[in-house]
């Protein structure tokens, strides 16, 4: 396990949408899944997860429902809505384009200019 990276500003929303797109999750589950997929390389402020979840639900991209957790406790489960799915698609596209451009710029050798 290498050093953890701080989350780049504004990417938490996208990560939550992605995490939830793989199946309904409760808040703690979202945290676990992001850590799991990222192979523990991302540092997420646990508390800041919830304001983000509330914001996404407020905007209608995810929806919540109370259900029962794996250890038989009541937990609030979030799932992706249709609008959220479109949103994730758009965000992902944007991110990929951006990453490509940045990578292109950073990868430029002096003789290429």
């Amino acid at each position: 396990m290498g050093k953890q990276l701080d989350l780049i500003q504004g990417t938490l929303d996208m990560l939550i949408l992605k995490a939830v797109s793989l199946g309904p999750l409760h808040g703690y589950g979202v945290l676990l899944r992001i850590q799991q997929i990222s192979r523990e390389r991302l540092e997420i402020q646990q508390g800041s997860l919830y304001p983000a979840l509330y914001r996404l639900e407020h905007q209608g991209w995810i929806a919540s429902e109370w259900g029962e957790s794996e250890n038989r406790r009541k937990a609030k489960y979030y799932r992706l809505t249709a609008a959220g799915k479109r949103r994730l698609q758009r965000e992902a596209d944007k991110w990929n384009r951006m990453a490509e451009v940045i990578a292109g710029i950073l990868g430029t050798a002096p003789e290429e200019v």
Partner: protein, 911 residues
Amino acid sequence: MSIVSRLVSWTKAILTRSRLESEMDAELHFHIESNIADLMKGGMSREEATRQTRLEFGNPDVHKDDCRSSLGLRLWDELGADLRYGGRMLRKSPAFTAVAILSLAIGIGANSAIFTLANGVLLEQLSAPHPEELRLLSWISGPKLAMNHLWGDTSKTATGQYTSTSFSYPVYRQLRGDNHSFDNLFAFKDISRFTVTIDGNAEVIQGEMVSGNFYQGLGIGTVAGRPILPSDDSAPGGEPVAVISDAFWAQHFGRSQAAIGQTIQLNRIPVSIVGVNAPSFLGAQLGRAPQIFVPLSMQPQLIPRPEGSLLEDASYWWLQIMGRLKPGVPVGKARSDLDVAFDGAVKSTLPIKRDTSLPRLTMLDGSRGLDYLRRDFAKPIYVLASLAGLVLLIACANLANLLLARSAARQREMSVRLALGAGRMRIIRQVLTESMLLASLGCVVGLVLGYAGRNVIPNLIANSWQPNLLQLKFNWRVLAFTIAVSVVTGLLFGIAPAWQATSADVNAGSKEAGHATPARGKGLAGKIIVVLQISLSALLVIGSGLFLRTLSNLYATQIGFRPENVLLFDIDPPSTRYPAGQGVAVHRRLEEKIAAIPGVESVTLTSDPLIANDSSIDTFAPTGRTPHAGQPTEAWSNHVGVHFFETMSIPMLYGRGFDEQVTATSPKVAVVNQRLAEQFFAGENAIGMTFNSGDEKHPIEIVGICANTKYENLRSEPPPTFYLPYVQHEDPGLMTYEVKIAAVGEDVVNSIREAVRTVDKDLPLIDVRTQVAQIDATTTQERIFAVLTTALGGLALVLACIGIYGIMAYTVARRTNEIGIRMALGAQVRSVVLMVLRETTWLVGIGLALGILVSVGLTRLVRSMLYGLGPIDPATLIGASLLLFAIALLAGWGPARTASQIDPVSALRHE
């Protein structure tokens, strides 16, 4: 999408707030517990895991706050907190709160009441679908009118042309035939008096005669039975059917379905009720509420004229015509099309001489039907609305001042808030919330006042013997207006204090222990507001002075007769029972019967009662003379009874009055007033001279000259008038009886009623009133203005008084130190008092000067409403100035005394 979901989520969050909070707790708790459990699985002790989780998770309260922010609840929560805080502040100073709310409520209530009036009178539309599609026909013509008789409104334009909305029936028939631009051209005429007899009881009601397509054209139906149909109006003579108003239905039939099909007598003609109008439909003339609607075709039976049917008379113009524009037809095209038809109709029905002016068709907005209300009330309403607006402004100024003083006292609080990191916007918002809280409380109380006062003005307009027809509705429009006014008010008086609050200096405020020495500018702001307040009050006081003096001038004028102890009522023998020629006989009999009643001193009757906004003008042509250019050919006329001059106490100057020898067949005689004698027979003896009026064959001899009397109203000078004995009138019709009695009382009226019943039991006494009340009724508008401006002016003075007191008390408090030093150095009590009063006088002087300056500009606008004085009236200006100075000294006296009682020693220790 996002906005919708955000709105839904926000609303849900607010509505299920407590559930949201507990769910939020549960959710965070679950997270923490799960994390602890996972850590413990990894081998940590419970304490260790809890500590670790707490570190990783952070403060749950902070996250919850962020969650609420995410849901957009933050503003809401802060608003709630501000409101609670504002409420606490208001409760803490109940006197301030009461004064503030009351002064706001009075200002807002006055505006609300006047808007209710404006809403009913200026904005109300006909109760028909899409009233905006309706057009009212009208015409405009040069001075040589083609038609002989006009029944209805005629007005003269600035260019000397005549306009009217009256048409003849033959013209209406032709227009209808040639119409292509309107769905329906329908016609109506309001009849102010029908005598209706139900079960033997006679009563006078208003009616409307309508064409058969009237209901179709307006697009309205009835709530019971059927409307008047084209078939009712097709045959001459017509079907004797009637539709009654909802009010009439309720009053006479208790809203029973059995009313349909019943036969009632209308002007003694049996008509059967076929339908009932909806409660909201009050006919096609605004401000009227006819109780019965009959087809136009019944005119010859209902109101017969010796000259024949109005339906065939092309020279008699009386009918109003309206239509609903066909969709897609431009107004201009509709007008020009119909104008062609109109021109043809006029030429084919009227004899057109070479110099006759041909009328041109014009179209008016018909959404309000035939509308005299706007013409009569628009200007008074605008004036009243401006006055009410002024009062509200003064209330605003007052409140702004009080709040400014308070915000000075709260300087320390604001400094602390700023020091603790509150943003300036946040503080402005909080202070504004307090102002808005005050404004909304004022709005609520103002609405109550406005609702209670909505009928005050209509009741002032109504007179004692006629019901108030302006039943004003308190609808959503009034509500919206009142709320809007309150919001603007709140912003207006709240902005200065809010601004002031944020200018607090973080350091200065907290260093000084509560009683700050505020910057110079603050006292200045308060003084400017007080000056403003005084100038506005000066405006109102000057206005009320002008209207009060107008009223007293009106009542001080010489009317030329004695109105005391004279009882008035109208008798209208229906022509259906008393055809031409028989009217005189019934009036004669009534006159004799009434004269015989004990307590009655003398009786007369007139075709036009005096000072009742009523007069007749007829041609007056001295026999054998050709009038030279510029000499009038007309004079005012009145048909009167034999005892007219003694009943009204009009002195006979030369010759004699009328006596019992004058009959319908005896030579025609007249009495003229002095002005007429001077105007037509200057330098000659008018007695014995003859003149013609209308009838060329029977010249009239002048037998007496009486003193001048005012005729139509109190404002106009006595016009040149000639009086004719009514017995020589062929068809007097409705006459007003004047009965001079020893003392006005109900029993005399009852005796008179009894006497009339012995002559004809179906003749009702109409509009019983005293001559004094009749005169009062013509000065309604003047009295409304005098009463309202005086009330508003008084209110303004009280508010100004509070304002002056406040600012002076504040100034004295601020200068305690300085005054103490002055006194320690030997200043006299007198000079300290004078110092304070001098400052007060300065404030008032400047405010007054401003107010007078503005009033000079504004009072010109009400020039036509004044009487006996110009818009710049020195007496009023001087009176208003003295009053304001007196008030100012009164208000300044308290603070001046406080200043004079300052103890130098304690004042120096003061800080």
